[in-house]
């Protein structure tokens, strides 16, 4: 995701996201899945697992749901294929309320919605081929058609060699590929991913995310994923919603949420991805200036690529770069700089005001001698 080919033009004021997104993908504004006032309370629990959720998931996007464990991510995801029954509110898929569906309509609905799981949930007594074939078999698809489809999907996930093997003989990443093939065998329009990479190592996670992105682009299906890892959101999602105690606390384009997280929970979740000072420097930080020679340490979150010399001139004094980097999220460049500014002619609050002209977010980390 951090290829140099992605948008590199300096954009002091980024375009409004919807206009930009619309220009790139005209279909994205259409709500594919819609939650209206959704709530869920489990019997015997005072706290609702979900409360007052209003969300639109657009057709063809990769939508991330993130939150700490117990925030209600899984419950929310499962209301989309009604593995979970909401207590209040409605879930609309293609403008159709799915609450009154009987078993027959549910079966039909679920064939339009694929799902993959953290622990893969493959049938241990069936071979890879039989696992992928199962959804077609129970739908009464004729054998020739089943064979064509299973072959096609095993090829898509790169497991055609392993079709005779039982899941126990596969690695975690291979198991998830079988799970993906199984989920896609009915040509669904939505794919639900329940912590699909949480049981995988980083390298395998990257390859599964790559596959999901590829599927999203090639097949144009809507992907809804839940995760507790911000890196997953950063790498493939277009938009994200942050849940805390069953409520939406923040939502928006991923690069916006990453650039300027507003809620405490989002900041906590983002912490592992943030630029950090080396531990030795961190330890020597003071809350207020010690002397005239003290330098103030600022953390700047920048969108696009501002001209650094102009920024440094604006801040004045001696500006040193302590830590920094640029990430590309979607087509947006998001930079983080940690600077120390010494002997600036400006007061700290003036410095902050000047820095804010350049950055989405400015934070004073402290002062060093």
């Amino acid at each position: 995701m951090s290829q140099a080919s992605a948008l590199r033009a300096p954009t002091p004021q980024p375009l409004p996201p919807t206009a930009k997104e619309q220009a790139l993908r005209p279909e994205v504004n259409e709500a594919h899945v819609r939650f209206i006032g959704l709530g869920k309370t489990y019997p015997g629990q005072a706290q609702p697992a979900l409360h007052g959720i209003d969300l639109n998931i657009r057709r063809g996007e990769i939508f991330g749901i993130i939150g700490r464990s117990g925030a209600g991510k899984s419950s929310l995801l499962r209301t989309i294929n009604r593995l979970e029954q909401p207590s209040q509110g409605r879930v609309l898929i293609d403008q159709v309320d799915i609450a009154p569906f009987d078993e027959e309509s549910l079966v039909t609905l679920r064939r339009r919605i694929g799902m993959i799981f953290q622990h893969f949930n493959l049938m241990s007594a069936k071979t890879v081929w039989q696992n992928v074939e199962l959804p077609l078999k129970v739908a009464g698809v004729p054998k020739a058609e089943r064979q064509r489809k299973v072959r096609e999907l095993l090829e898509l996930v790169g497991l055609q060699e392993k079709h005779q093997v039982y899941p126990a003989q596969l690695s975690g990443g291979q198991k998830q590929r079988v799970g993906i093939a199984r989920a896609l065998v009915h040509d669904p329009e939505i794919l639900l991913c329940d912590e699909a990479t949480s049981a995988l190592d980083p390298e395998t996670t990257a390859s599964i995310l790559e596959l999901l992105r590829d599927i999203n682009q090639r097949l144009g299906l809507t992907i809804v994923l839940i995760t507790h890892e911000m890196a997953v959101i950063r790498d493939i999602c277009h938009r994200v919603v942050v849940l805390e105690r069953g409520e939406v606390v923040e939502q928006g384009e991923v690069w916006r949420v990453f650039g300027a997280p507003r809620h405490e929970v989002t900041r906590t979740l983002l912490a592992p991805l943030q630029a950090k000072l080396p531990a030795s420097l961190q330890a020597s930080l003071k809350a207020s200036p010690v002397s005239r020679d003290s330098a103030v340490v600022l953390k700047l979150t920048l969108l696009g690529e501002p001209e650094l010399s102009a920024l440094f001139n604006d801040l004045g004094g001696r500006v040193r770069l302590l830590q920094g980097g640029v990430e590309t999220i979607g087509e947006h460049a998001l930079g983080q700089l940690i600077l120390s500014v010494q002997h600036s002619p400006h007061e700290t609050h003036q410095l902050l005001a000047r820095a804010r002209r350049w950055a989405e977010d400015v934070e004073v980390l402290g002062h060093v001698v």
Binding site: V107, R111, N121, M123, S124, A125, P135, K137, V138
Partner: protein, 214 residues
Amino acid sequence: MWFDRLLEGLLDTLLMVGVSSLIALLVGVPMAVLLVTSDKGGIFEARLLNRVLGAFVNLFRSIPFLILMVALIPFTRLLVGTTYGVWAAVVPLTIAATPFFARIAEVSLREVDHGLVEAAQAMGCRRWHIVWHVLLPEALPGIVGGFTITLVTLINSSAMAGAIGAGGLGDIAYRYGYQRFDSQIMLTVIAMLVALVAVIQLGGDRLAKGLNKR
């Protein structure tokens, strides 16, 4: 002559065990499926049915076989017209073995990961699809193991039935070995039973292992 008598006893035992275990299998598996799926949170949730069935199974499982056999005499007479011989023994053997096997099969079915049921629902399986394509195949190694235990238990019980006139190896051991102090017959019967149980256990273990792909 002794050979003929022992062979006949063996065949009677095999017949009693074979017929009653077959019925136990055919009735016990659906019973186990019903016990699991009608329970709370199951795919065919029906709490009352579950409780009644559970109580029924527990009732028959708590009666020692010897007592069950005697208590069932009127029922046996009604069903097969006699209280003597191989077919009369099949009735109590089946009634004892079915709930026994159903409970063991139930445990195997319960051990099937709920995630698999969820995955099946998510892929658009109807409920009986889940039973047929998920629960039973996944629990099969355990069910085979449970059936092996049931067979061995049935051999044990059939010897008891033999002692009160059902025929079979138990009958021979009791009449000739015990009542006539013919230790040679007794030892031969014991050897045959040991061999029979060993063959069944070994075969069952092999099959269960072969079916287990985990």
